[in-house]
């Protein structure tokens, strides 16, 4: 299993980097889809099948398609982007290193987790259980999430509508 984890992790990080370094946004998007799939693989390793499915549907299916459409809509599928100036790139690299250093240092410095992992034995992540938790304990946030989605849909429609300034 550990081997699998390492392979998946390598894919995840690698495609993430490729997403960033690809000149062409389309390529970026494709690498990102790969990245999401690898994350879904992680979810499957956790035995969270439902989440993995949802993840693939939402991210790879919905979000990334949306992005690809946008890219195509804007006709950005070429490598025309000017790269940032050298100072900005250096600054980005430095802050990346710094952030990684700080976060890793924090986690390393933090108290080590216990390794005798509890196994309740009870099912906690099947669709049935998740559904119960979601609609019993988290009923109100769930409804709010739906409202949020509705609002964002309306907002997106309004924003992308063509404005007639000179009427």
């Amino acid at each position: 299993m550990l081997t699998l984890f390492y392979i998946l992790s390598a894919i995840t990080l690698g495609t993430a980097f490729l997403t960033i370094f690809s000149k062409n946004p389309i390529h970026s998007a494709i690498y990102l889809v790969l990245c999401f799939f690898s994350i879904a693989g992680h979810y499957l390793m956790f035995n969270a099948q439902f989440l993995a499915i949802v993840h693939i549907i939402v991210y790879s299916g919905a979000i990334m398609i949306l992005m690809l459409f946008t890219i195509m809509l804007m006709n950005l599928n070429k490598e025309g982007e000017k790269s940032k100036n050298a100072w900005s790139q250096i600054a980005a690299v430095i802050s990346f290193c710094l952030l990684a250093l700080v976060l890793l240092a924090t986690f390393i410095k933090a108290q080590q987790p216990e390794y005798n992992y509890a196994t309740k034995g009870a099912d906690f992540q099947s669709i049935k259980v998740l559904g119960q938790v979601l609609l019993n304990d988290y009923m109100v946030p769930f409804e709010f999430a739906s409202v949020l989605l509705l609002v964002s849909m309306i907002g997106a429609v309004l924003l992308s509508k063509k404005e007639h300034i000179n009427n």
């Binding site: 997403t19 956790f46 950005l76 080590q112 906690f124």
Partner: protein, 106 residues
Amino acid sequence: MENILEQIGIDNYIYLSTLLFCVGAFGVLYRRNAIVMFMSIEIMLNAVNLLLVAFSTYHQDAAGQVFVFFSMAVAAAEVAVGLAILVAVYRNIKNIDIDNLKKLKG
């Protein structure tokens, strides 16, 4: 059912998520294309989601996974609105290079 973490260890997931998050942040800083920056943000969100699921398993508690659902919902909403804004911006200045969006200065 045996716990997957017994074989891999929670700390590996922590490091993975951290790195993934940093990569996302790096992407935001490194690129000027707004859409790629959005993708980087998605990477960061996913890093967090991954960690949430890992801890959900660690604690054997469904709440973490529920939270990931919400996070996904928010991400979807965010992308929808964000892309709409980008489209609007693109209509006005004909590109989405964030270095050109400097009107909001003091």
